[in-house]
Symmetry: C2
Subunit: 335 residues, 2 copies
Amino acid sequence: MKLASLKSGRDGKLVVVSDDLARMADASEIAPTLQHALDNWASVSPQLEDLQKQLNNGESAGTPFDQTQCHSPLPRAYHWADGSAYVNHVELVRKARNAEMPESFWTDPLMYQGGSDTFLAPREPVKMPQAEGFGIDFEAEIAVITDDVPMGVSPGDALKHIKLVMLVNDVSLRGLIPNELSKGFGFYQSKPSSAFSPVCVTPEQLGDHWKDGKLHLPLVSELNGEKFGEPNAGIDMTFHFGQLIAHAAKTRPLGAGTIIGSGTVSNKLDGGPGKPVKEGGVGYSCIAEIRMIETIQSGKPSTAFMQFGDRIAIEMLDERGQSIFGRIEQVVEQA
Amino acid sequence: MKLASLKSGRDGKLVVVSDDLARMADASEIAPTLQHALDNWASVSPQLEDLQKQLNNGESAGTPFDQTQCHSPLPRAYHWADGSAYVNHVELVRKARNAEMPESFWTDPLMYQGGSDTFLAPREPVKMPQAEGFGIDFEAEIAVITDDVPMGVSPGDALKHIKLVMLVNDVSLRGLIPNELSKGFGFYQSKPSSAFSPVCVTPEQLGDHWKDGKLHLPLVSELNGEKFGEPNAGIDMTFHFGQLIAHAAKTRPLGAGTIIGSGTVSNKLDGGPGKPVKEGGVGYSCIAEIRMIETIQSGKPSTAFMQFGDRIAIEMLDERGQSIFGRIEQVVEQA
């Protein structure tokens, strides 16, 4: 099943979307918002599934689906926590600033909590008061949405609580991170509002691509129209989503509609850092990584962070080239 | 005006409460939930004010108000960020673990984002899988709820966005903090669900006690029935709530219903750390502080963190001894 939230009020209006993203059907009589559906998932999801079946088999004609009319599936959420499951990415970031990575990072997930009250729509500009010094970067990631998760859930049981999967651009302000992290309380100002893909889908809909709590397909990032990365999200993911959820739920339950992110998707190459797309590699899911490689190779980075007017697009295609989640596409603008 | 949310569904049922907390009137026809009221504050709050006037002057009899039937005013919220405005507290915590405090902490607020999807009710037990090693502590604080705040708001303008004030017990797991902070991403597992006072009130309702973005009254904490602290929340607060909100809104807008906390309330004495209540001081708003004093004085702490069965109560009284926000009262229990 595929779901989306059309822009409407603070929480959007729920629609089901056909598998090919061509048509949609109003689902607001079943559940006015996605949060409402998640709050009542057991009773509501079968009705939504029925509606989507009718849309897919032509029983219901539906109306044309326009991604530009979408907000993020949850325009605001009660919980958004982002892991750092591709430890390769963490190791690279640390290397670039000459910081050793503790061995425990391979067994104990890193996770931070992000602002969830004001998500951006998937095609909404990233507005910042300044580019200079802020180091505006994108981070292409996978995220899942859960139902109610009990405290102390096991990684295996946690997988059953994953109701929906989507993509995310976890905007990061690299210039603000070092100072902020040195204060010891983690990210806050350096992680502004994130944007999610227009469409979220059930794990079942992903078929064989969803396996062992990971999504086994390339995640494509395009910076200013050029392919920047296409690492496979199923490769080099040290912690699967069940492990990330269990980490989040160690000392508290998670409410329905909790969003858990994978962290920046990153693939190794022959045990070392990957190569840029233009050199035949799978590239990167954020600018910071290519800057690290450049720093390691030549002493300083040559790729700039995002400037006003720069455009980032994030998408995932199935084996037939069909977009699964729709396309995040955002321009950086001056606030 | 005083508002509360009776336990009902996921988001409670909104009631207005009489100034003396004796009676209440159903406000759900004006706004079903507090979040709904905050989403539409400009149009809704005058109607709520009218209802409260009728309750206070006897025009409306109302029904008896029972604090034990309350959930936290927002049973779940889209944003809960806690500052550390009483820098005295931060300096003490650092001293106890031999860590120097950077000078910038006096000018640049510390803030972390907490879990807001599953708040505890004000009389709900704090359930934890273990006490041993977790170092269960309370933190008595003041918190404000905002309406929509634009990105880049000034500290002065931010004050106008404070719609409601309440108390909070920001439960902390001291035993998990050192390891978690050493990972560099801030608090997550070490900050489980918080509980808020049964009643939240408008700044206007606080009269002269609300001044310059601070609440100038003692915040009383009782541990197992004995007074543990009564520091004045208006004293030694280095950053007022307008400054904390402006910090939170530097790189993103804040959605209506954002909760911003003050951090643990802490008063100095003659320029140094305060004295325990039993020695004639104003005491402390968390156990960690008295343990620091003990460590500084005698090399090791003698007061234990909370064990199963321990009880914490947090309340604020006006000059006539009337409880303003009602009483947080929580027992620690095994999950």
